[in-house]
C-alpha cells in the first residue's frame, strides 16, 4: 500500500475464473483492474463483496501464479463471493501480515500438515517446495478432510506426490465412504502414526484450531521443538492493520504479528487460540 493512500479503499479486481474445489470450497482467480499486489506466502488479503462486506483470506497461490483464493462457504461474505461469476467485481486490499521465512527452511526436511480449508495457505508452500526441490530435504504432506469429496486441489495431488522425493498422505474422518481406500483417521493420529523425524525438520500446519492444538501435541511428543513447528492462525478482523482490535490474542495481533506463528510464539500467547 503506497504511503499516504487510503488503506481502506480496496483495489478493484474482476473474477477471472471460478472453480468448484469441493461442495463448499470454491477457487476464485482474480485479475486486478489496476495496481499490483506483491505478496509472499503466508500473507493474506481482505476481499470485498461490495454491499455485503469484507473478510480476510490467505493467498492460495504463489504470486507468479496469479491471485487465487480458496474460499469455503461459511457466512454472508463467503456466500456472496461464491455467487460471483467471471467478470464480476471484487475489492481487494492487502497484502497484510507476516510470511513464512522460506529461506530459513532451506536444507531442512519439510512436513506439511493440513486439515480442511487449512490447505489454502499451505498450497503456495507446497508449490514453492516442489518448485525448489533441490533447496530442501524430503517433503511429506499430510492432508485430512471430512470425506473424499472434501479434499481441495485433488487435481494437483499427482503433481504433489510425484515431485522428487515428495510423499502425500491423505486421511478422511469420519468413516462411511465405501469407495475410500485410504486412511480413516484424524490428522493428529496420522502424524502419530507416520512419526516424522524432528531431525533437521520443519513442520508447518494449518487447519481448525482444535486440529492445530493436537498436531502440535503429537509433534512435541515426537521430539519437535516449539521453534520447529509453524502454523497460521485464523482470526476475525476488520482492518488488517492492527487498529480495529478484533484479532488480538493477548498482546499479539494475528493481522500484524501473524498470521504465521511458531508453536514457541503460540505457547507464549496470553490467550488460547
Amino acid at each position: 500500500m503506497p504511503k499516504g493512500s487510503d488503506p481502506f479503499l480496496p483495489l478493484l479486481a474482476e473474477v477471472a475464473e471460478v472453480r468448484d474445489l469441493t461442495p463448499d470450497i470454491k477457487l476464485l482467480r482474480l485479475s486486478l483492474r489496476e495496481g499490483r499486489i506483491d505478496y509472499r506466502p503466508g500473507q493474506f488479503a481482505i476481499l470485498s463483496a461490495f454491499g455485503v462486506g469484507e473478510a480476510p483470506f490467505t493467498f492460495a497461490s504463489l504470486p507468479e501464479e496469479g491471485l487465487e483464493f480458496a474460499i469455503r462457504r461459511m457466512g454472508t461474505v463467503t456466500n456472496a463471493l461464491h455467487n460471483l461469476g467471471p467478470g464480476d467485481l471484487v475489492g481487494i486490499r492487502g497484502p497484510y501480515g507476516n510470511t513464512f521465512p522460506l529461506e530459513d527452511y532451506e536444507g531442512k526436511d519439510i512436513i506439511i500438515i493440513g486439515g480442511g480449508i487449512g490447505i489454502a495457505p499451505l498450497r503456495p508452500l507446497i508449490h514453492w517446495f516442489i518448485k525448489h526441490r533441490g533447496d530442501y530435504g524430503s517433503l511429506l504432506i499430510i492432508y485430512g478432510a471430512r470425506t473424499p469429496r472434501d479434499f481441495a486441489f485433488s487435481d494437483e495431488f499427482d503433481a504433489w506426490a510425484g515431485a522428487g522425493g515428495a510423499r502425500l498422505e491423505l486421511a478422511i474422518d469420519p468413516p462411511g465412504s465405501p469407495d475410500w481406500r485410504g486412511r480413516v483417521a484424524l490428522v493428529p493420529a496420522v502424524v502419530k502414526e507416520l512419526k516424522p523425524s524432528p531431525k533437521n525438520s520443519i513442520a508447518i500446519t494449518c487447519g481448525p484450531p482444535i486440529m492445530i492444538h493436537y498436531v502440535i501435541e503429537e509433534l512435541r511428543a515426537l521430539g519437535f521443538s516449539p521453534g520447529q513447528i509453524v502454523t497460521t492462525l485464523e482470526a476475525k478482523m476488520k482492518c488488517g492493520m492492527g487498529k480495529c482490535m478484533r484479532c488480538n490474542v493477548g498482546d499479539k495481533y494475528v493481522c500484524k504479528d501473524g498470521p504465521v506463528f511458531t508453536a514457541d510464539q503460540i505457547s507464549r500467547l496470553l490467550e488460547a487460540f
Binding site: 499516504g4 488503506p7 490467550e271
Partner: protein, 328 residues
Amino acid sequence: MKFISDKNLRKWLESLMGIGSLIAPMDLGPGLTLFSQIRDPGDVNLEYETTPIPPKDLFFPSSEALFRFSPSRGYEIPEIDGEAFLLGIRPCDALGIRLMDFPFLSEPADPRYERRRRRTTLIGLGCIKARPECFCTSFGIGPFDASNADAFLIPVKGGFLAEARTEKGAKALAAAELEEASIPIPKPPEVPSIDVGAVREVALSLFNSPYWERLADRCLSCKLCAYVCPSCYCFDIRDYPIRDGAERIRSWDSCQSPLFSRQASGYDPRQTKASRLRNRFYHKFSYFPGEFGAFGCTGCGRCVRYCPVNIDVREVLLAILRGEAKVA
C-alpha cells in the same frame, strides 16, 4: 499567561466561528452537556463537568461512511475539510485524543482521523472542580495539565487565563482580545492518584486468576464503558447496499461484545465474559503500554460513573496492584 475577559470571550468565539467550525460543550437538556457544533456563542457552557461522552467522536465518529462504491461511479469518499476548534476540552479528554493518536496515526495512518486531527485546534480548559470519580493524576496529568492541548484556558474571576502551547494554539488565541494577566494561577483541585507504575508487570502474573470470573459475574456486557471511554477505539466495518452499489460504514464497537472475536469457523479465543472483561483491562494496562509506551486510560472516571453494575476501574487497578486478584 494572558487574560480573556468574560466580556471579550463572546467576541473571540465569534471570530473563531468566522475561521472554522466551533465545537464546544453545550447544554442539551437538564443535566446533559455534550460537545456540539456551536451556532450561537451564548450556548457555550465552560462551567460544565465531564460530558457523558468524550469528544473523541470529532476525530473518530461513532459511525461514518468510509466510502460509497458503485461500479458505474467508482468510489465516492466523504470530504473532510475546513478548520475546526475544539474548545473547552478537559485535560483527561485531551490525553484521550493523544492516546488515540497512537493507533490511528501509526503507519499506515488512518487518513480520516489524520485529516480531522490536522484541521482541529484543541483549546483545553482547566478543571476548577474534581468529580468523585476523577483520578487523572494517576496518568501523569492533572486539572491544569495543558500538555495535550494547542491552547489552554484556566477559569479565573471575570474570565480566563489563556496560554498558547503550539502554533495552532497561538493562531487561535490571536483572534482574541487578550489582556496582560496579573492574576495569579489559582490552586487546582485535589485529584486522588493511584500509583499505577507496576500494574503492567503485576497484571501479567494474574492472567489466570479467578478474580476475572468473579468480576465478570456482574458485568452485563453492555459496552457502555467502551463508548464513554476517551481512549477506547475498537471498531467494526460493515457494508450496506445502496442503489447501484454499497456504502461501507465504520462504527464504534467494543471487545466486550460476545461476537467481537468469534471467528468464521465459530471458534472464539474469548468465549467467556470473564476473558472479555479481562481483555479490556489488559488492553488498557498491559498490551497498549507494551505497544505504545502509555497506559490506555486517562483517569476521567466515566466508566466508573456510568457502569450500571458499579465495576470500578480504580478498584480493579488496586486489586491488581495489591495482588488481591490472586484470591478466588
